[in-house]
């Protein structure tokens, strides 16, 4: 069985007298986890707690099997962190900055130098590596932050709003990079973002927070698989024999007025078989929606459900 990447056991975090995270409990097993939630939901607090910056007032959080509080140092040696805000030393050249951070992570100077160059070339800043980081554009600074997060070869990469301030091509390139990193090794990924599209493109599992509580934990891989076989048809001339034939193939059908039929197909049935049945029965298919719940649907659903639960909607 796959080990949990992140395990939350009644995690409660208080800052001052205010409770930010309210007894979060859940297990996230995927290698690429998205962290979603509106502003003030507790995403950054959760990340800071996982990094050991905040101590839980109750409960615990385990990352890669290590307790974030009692094994903080061991845990941080496995983590590469790309913070949301500006985080660099402006007068240092890019490659020196990344080398510096790699050495702090424990790499010997020569290895750190080599890895810093590799990381800079890898993120696409090879030409700018000898320029002071302070002179970089916002997008380049984001890439420099990513370079310092991966230079020491972490087991878990925590990315907090990685595409902030990037133009669409740069954003696309960064998302591709993140996917490449995820696929090129057994590195785990925790990505916090307001942009659902970024999370959808890079993550397999999503933790949705709202008001410091878990609104939903959703396995996107399973959702995608389930949704792939969900069809909405608008037909002319469909009779009971059409739906019964589909049902004999293993489909589940729901018939509505005006020839609208919803079909949930099992894995073994392909769409062309639906067309074949329609042709055999003389049924015209005027419209077909290959519908799937987007992450936006899942997110909005989670928001509505928790909103209803705490009496706001």
């Amino acid at each position: 069985m796959m080990n949990a990447t992140i395990e939350l056991n009644g995690l409660e975090v208080q800052l001052g007298n205010r409770t930010i995270l309210h007894g979060l409990t859940g297990v996230l097993k995927s290698h690429a986890i998205g962290l979603l939630g509106p502003n003030g939901a507790g995403k950054s607090t959760l990340i800071n707690t996982l990094l050991g910056f905040h101590s839980p007032s109750k409960g615990s959080a385990r990352v890669l099997g290590l307790d974030s509080h009692s094994n903080g140092s061991a845990l941080r040696s496995l983590v590469g962190y790309m913070p949301e805000n500006e985080a660099f030393i402006s007068k240092m050249s890019g490659v020196r900055f990344v080398r510096y951070m790699a050495e702090i992570s424990g790499l010997p100077p020569d290895q750190a130098m080599e890895r810093a160059h590799e990381a800079f070339v890898y993120v696409g800043l090879g030409e700018a590596r000898y320029r002071p980081v302070g002179t970089y554009s916002l997008g380049m600074k984001q890439l420099a932050k990513l370079a310092q997060a991966i230079a020491h070869g972490p087991k878990l990469l925590i990315l907090d709003e990685p595409t902030n301030g990037m133009d669409p091509p740069a954003r696309k390139r960064l998302i591709e990079l993140i996917r490449e990193i995820r696929e090129a090794s057994d590195i785990c990924l925790l990505l916090s973002s307001h942009l659902l599209h970024d999370v959808e493109e890079t993550c397999d599992e999503v933790l949705i927070l709202r008001n410091g509580q878990i609104a939903s934990i959703c396995n996107l891989v399973e959702e995608r698989r389930a949704n792939r076989k969900f069809l909405e048809l608008e037909t002319i001339g469909a009779e009971a024999t059409f739906t019964s034939t589909l049902e004999s193939l293993g489909c589940e059908c729901a018939v509505f007025s005006n020839g609208r039929i919803k079909v949930v197909m099992p894995d073994k049935v392909e769409i062309r078989e639906v067309f074949k049945v329609a042709a055999d029965r003389g049924v015209q298919i005027r419209r077909m929606n290959h519908r799937r719940d987007s992450l936006e649907d899942i997110f909005l659903n989670a928001m509505e459900q928790t909103g209803a639960a705490d009496g706001r909607i």
Partner: protein, 294 residues
């Protein structure tokens, strides 16, 4: 792996010992410092008095040179406690100036653009961070205070011979301890200021103020209350008191000997208290900045 191979590779090589990683900060800070020509000039200037003190020892132990200089009095050049007190005063002042230039940028540079969370999200604690920065000032100020002090002591011991070293060995203790408390106090004050003030010029001003304003308040307190305990707020004077007592000074070299003298333990207490207070401020400032807000 060659840099042109654009793919992500995990790292599986050796790692440095965790205890030694604080020194990475020190190494990088020194590398940055030595890029500044002004710093190099300042460092050289702060070592110039050592040449004069060394020359003095050479003359004091060389009869031929004394004859050449037509020195008739044999006791004119003596290397005793007064000599080392003067050396310590000169060098601790040089250390103060060096500290005013170097200290303010050590932490401010990391805080200006929010780099602190990057350090602390690694297996690197706040204590490691402070230790790394403290080591910069510790090594630098040592290089202009107790290290040349001991070298001069050794030079004198070597040239004087005749058991001079055994009759003066006790002076090693004040050279070391007085330098240590001065270096520690200066370093912690400037790191606390550096963690609180971004601009170097303002930070340097604050370091000066942190010495002169309390001393001024102390004098006011003495005048109003008709006491001498206000001198406790004059850190430089407290240091000189420790220096004078450490070197068994009896000649009034550091000011007239007074019956209303602050006890030496109280002077030590004040300097240690300043160190602790600076450490508390430093810790609070770093703790407030180590987390990225969201």
């Amino acid at each position: 792996m060659a840099v042109y191979k654009r793919r992500y590779n995990p790292y599986s090589g050796t790692l440095t010992a965790q205890w030694s990683r604080f020194f990475v900060l020190t190494r990088y800070a020194f590398a940055e410092l030595f890029k500044s020509r002004f710093f190099v000039i300042l460092l050289i200037l702060s070592l110039v008095p050592i040449l004069f003190f060394a020359g003095y020892i050479f003359v004091a132990n060389n009869k031929a040179v004394q004859l050449l200089m037509q020195m008739r009095s044999a006791g004119l050049f003596s290397v005793e406690n007064d000599y080392f007190i003067m050396m310590m005063i000169a060098q601790t002042q040089a250390a103060f100036l060096l500290n005013c230039w170097v200290g303010p940028v050590l932490i401010a540079g990391d805080l200006t653009n929010g780099a602190l969370p990057l350090f602390l999200s690694r297996p690197f604690s706040r204590a490691d961070y402070v230790l790394g920065k403290l080591a910069v000032l510790g090594l630098l100020l040592s290089a202009v205070t107790w290290i040349p002090g001991l070298l001069l002591f050794s030079l004198q011991a070597g040239l004087a011979g005749n058991g001079w070293i055994w009759s003066h060995i006790w002076m090693v203790v004040p050279i070391m301890f007085c330098s240590a408390i001065w270096i520690l106090m200066l370093s912690l004050i400037s790191l606390a200021v550096s963690a609180s003030v971004k601009l170097r010029i303002v930070a340097t001003g604050v370091i000066f103020i942190s010495f002169f304003i309390p001393a001024g308040f102390g004098e006011m307190y003495n005048s109003i209350m008709g006491t001498y305990w206000g001198r406790l707020l004059n850190f430089t004077e407290m240091f000189r008191l420790i220096l004078a007592k450490g070197f068994r000074e009896r000649t009034g070299l550091l000011g007239p000997l007074s019956r209303n003298e602050i006890p030496v333990p109280a002077a030590w207490g004040v300097l240690i208290l300043v160190c602790l207070l600076s450490l508390v401020i430093l810790n609070a400032r770093l703790k407030a900045r180590e987390v990225v807000g969201g």
